[in-house]
């Protein structure tokens, strides 16, 4: 563990990130946006609904909305933080020097990935006090919040790894950014659309719902669907009913994103340095 935190790239990246005012301004605006949403919602519910109090169901609705806001934050900020990690070093002409040091390719990739993830975690943790407002009014258990944060972490790790992978194999940061955002949009929107098309076609062709493992797979890898099944467990049953596949969405999601993370890190490590042994 000590070795992990003494990773020179990680230490340097964190140092540089917090020397820039951009990071603090980013956190400030994120917290302001969260506060406006939470306190605005509470104000609207208590002042204008005529009841004068905040019910657990409303607290749960606020929790659901906050969870989707956090998910959106992860999906949109992670590519921006990771897709330029290696390519920007290449563009700034610092990569060659870094590659001639004694650090292994894994150490460099790991340092880059963890520094980006650490900043995102800081954002999520900074928002926790506001997030925790929901506990004041009931309707949500700390365990539920813990599971959601665990899945947020997995999503960050996977998208971050994809960003680092593109950044390693693509020379230009802008192209790497586009590729990472494209992949993120595919995973968070296109997969949901494919699931809907497959289940719809299934119904039209056979007249009734038949087994659709492909549809279930696309529903399983969609972060929006996952959050839906986590905040309202009944929706898991809906997907099982429409695809006739009885496999938990959370399990499919975890397996897929762990594999994607491992594959992306493996490719990044392999492609960071030239293979000196290869003969043509």
């Amino acid at each position: 563990m000590k070795q992990v935190f003494s990773n020179p790239v990680l230490v340097k990246e964190i140092k540089l990130r917090f020397r820039s005012p951009k990071s603090f301004i980013g956190i400030l605006f994120y917290l302001i946006a969260m506060c406006i949403f939470v306190f605005g919602f509470i104000l609207l519910t208590t002042q204008f609904s005529g009841t004068g109090y905040f019910r657990p169901e409303e607290s749960f609705f606020m929790f659901t909305m906050l969870t989707y806001i956090q998910l959106g934050l992860i999906l949109f900020i992670t590519p921006g933080l990771t897709a330029g990690a290696i390519s920007s070093e290449r563009e700034k002409q610092t990569l060659n020097i870094l590659l001639t040091t004694a650090q292994t390719s894994f150490q460099i990739i790991f340092g880059k990935l963890t520094s980006s993830i650490a900043f995102l975690l800081l954002l999520l943790i900074a928002g926790l006090p506001i997030y925790s407002m929901v506990f004041l009014f009931g309707g949500v258990s700390p365990g539920q919040l813990g599971i959601i944060f665990l899945y947020f972490f997995l999503t960050m790790l996977a998208i971050g790894s994809i960003g680092i992978m593109y950044s390693t194999i693509i020379r230009k940061t802008i192209v790497s950014m586009i590729a990472t955002y494209g992949t993120m949009i595919f995973l968070s929107a296109v997969t949901g659309f494919i699931y809907l098309v497959i289940t719809g076609m299934n119904t039209m062709v056979s007249g009734s719902l038949s087994s659709s493992p492909v549809g279930h797979f696309f529903a399983s890898i969609n972060p929006v669907v996952l959050v839906l099944t986590l905040v309202s467990p009944g929706s898991d049953t809906f997907i099982t009913d429409t695809t006739k596949v009885d496999f938990p969405i959370w399990a499919g999601y975890a397996i897929f994103y762990i594999c994607i993370t491992a594959l992306a890190i493996f490719i990044s490590v392999k492609k960071l340095r030239v293979n000196m042994k290869r003969t043509k």
């Binding site: 003494s6 020179p8 790239v9 230490v11 340097k12 140092k15 540089l16 020397r19 820039s20 700034k92 002409q93 610092t94 060659n96 020097i97 870094l98 590659l99 001639t100 040091t101 004694a102 650090q103 292994t104 340095r273 030239v274 293979n275 000196m276 042994k277 290869r278 003969t279 043509k280």
Partner: protein, 309 residues
């Protein structure tokens, strides 16, 4: 020791390097001379394990860049021709980062960094942001960075490029100090007189081929072949010129009336040259001076590369 065996790098049908063979003993300062695109940086990139050769191999203290690249990296200090620095990082932090990257402990780094900054005359800039340093200071800092793990071999690609004369002199002085420390240094430069002054051996590369290799004087002798003699005399210069033209070892006689001198190329031995001078005195030619003009490395380089093309 550095050993390069049949090193070739091809891009499609273009040979960036073509069968380079070179052996350098420990402690040698080797100057790599060549025009832009001749293959100097490609050779250095392969030695720094940044570029895969198409064929051949290079060894640094017995470690192959192909099979033991991580061992090679620990033994070399590499300074590329173009490099960037991290914004918002101070000079001591810059060195600290690279020190940690070589696995040097924090305690050692604290001792080492002030010494390195002292070596490159940047102690006073220790707490300055790296991106705010001048080009010459950045070059020196990069040199200090390449020394942080005390490598046996230094690969310096155009370390003095883009520097003003003062910064160039400072860089040269530091390199002389490093030479004194017994480091094996490979250095490429366009400033040829500087290389001649500093290097034990030079190699001339052109079109991806190593066309000459040896000590500076060897190369000059090998390539010049002839000595360039200048004779300053009193009296009718035409007669002086005619006298020297008659010698079988003399060629390309030229008159310089404004300087009262005659120049020619001489390919005889030193004894022949002594006899020629005696003969001239016997012929009552009033010689004021009889001297051999030094051929500088730039002339040699121009001559070699002209021949190679």
């Amino acid at each position: 020791m550095i050993e390069i065996k049949g090193l070739t790098k091809k891009y499609g049908s273009f040979y960036a390097l073509n069968d380079i063979n070179l052996t350098l003993q420990e402690g040698t300062v080797f100057g790599f001379v060549g025009a832009n695109g001749a293959g100097k940086s490609t050779t250095f990139s392969i030695l720094a394990t940044l570029l895969q050769p198409t064929s051949g191999d290079a060894f640094v203290n017995g470690k192959s860049v192909r099979t033991d690249p991580s061992d090679v990296r620990k033994q070399i200090g590499y300074m590329p021709d173009f490099f960037g620095v991290y914004d918002q990082l101070k000079a001591n932090e810059y060195l600290d980062f690279y020190g940690a990257s070589y696995g040097i402990s924090e305690v050692e780094r604290k001792v080492l960094i002030p010494q390195l900054l002292e070596l490159v005359n940047l102690s006073h800039k220790r707490y300055e942001y790296v991106d705010l340093l001048s080009r010459g200071m950045k070059q020196r800092l990069c040199l200090a960075r390449s020394l942080i793990h005390d490598p046996k071999v230094l690969i310096l690609d155009e370390p003095a490029s883009g520097l003003d004369p003062r910064a160039r002199v400072e860089m040269r002085d530091i390199l002389k100090q490093l030479k004194g420390m017994g480091k094996t240094i490979l250095i490429s430069s366009h400033i040829l007189p500087e290389l001649a002054e500093m290097c034990d051996e030079i190699g001339v590369i052109d079109g991806g081929r190593l066309i000459a290799h040896g000590s500076v004087t060897d190369i000059q002798a090998q390539l010049a072949g002839e000595r360039h003699i200048t004779v300053k005399a009193k009296g009718l210069l035409e007669n002086v010129a005619t006298f020297f033209e008659e010698d079988p070892f003399v060629s390309s006689v030229e008159l310089h009336t404004e300087k009262n001198s005659v120049t020619f190329n001489y390919r005889g031995t030193e004894d022949d040259q002594i006899n020629l001078l005696k003969k001239a005195m016997d012929h009552s030619i009033k010689i004021i001076s009889f001297s051999e003009t030094e051929t500088d490395l730039e002339d040699v380089f121009m001559e070699i590369t002209k021949g190679a093309k």
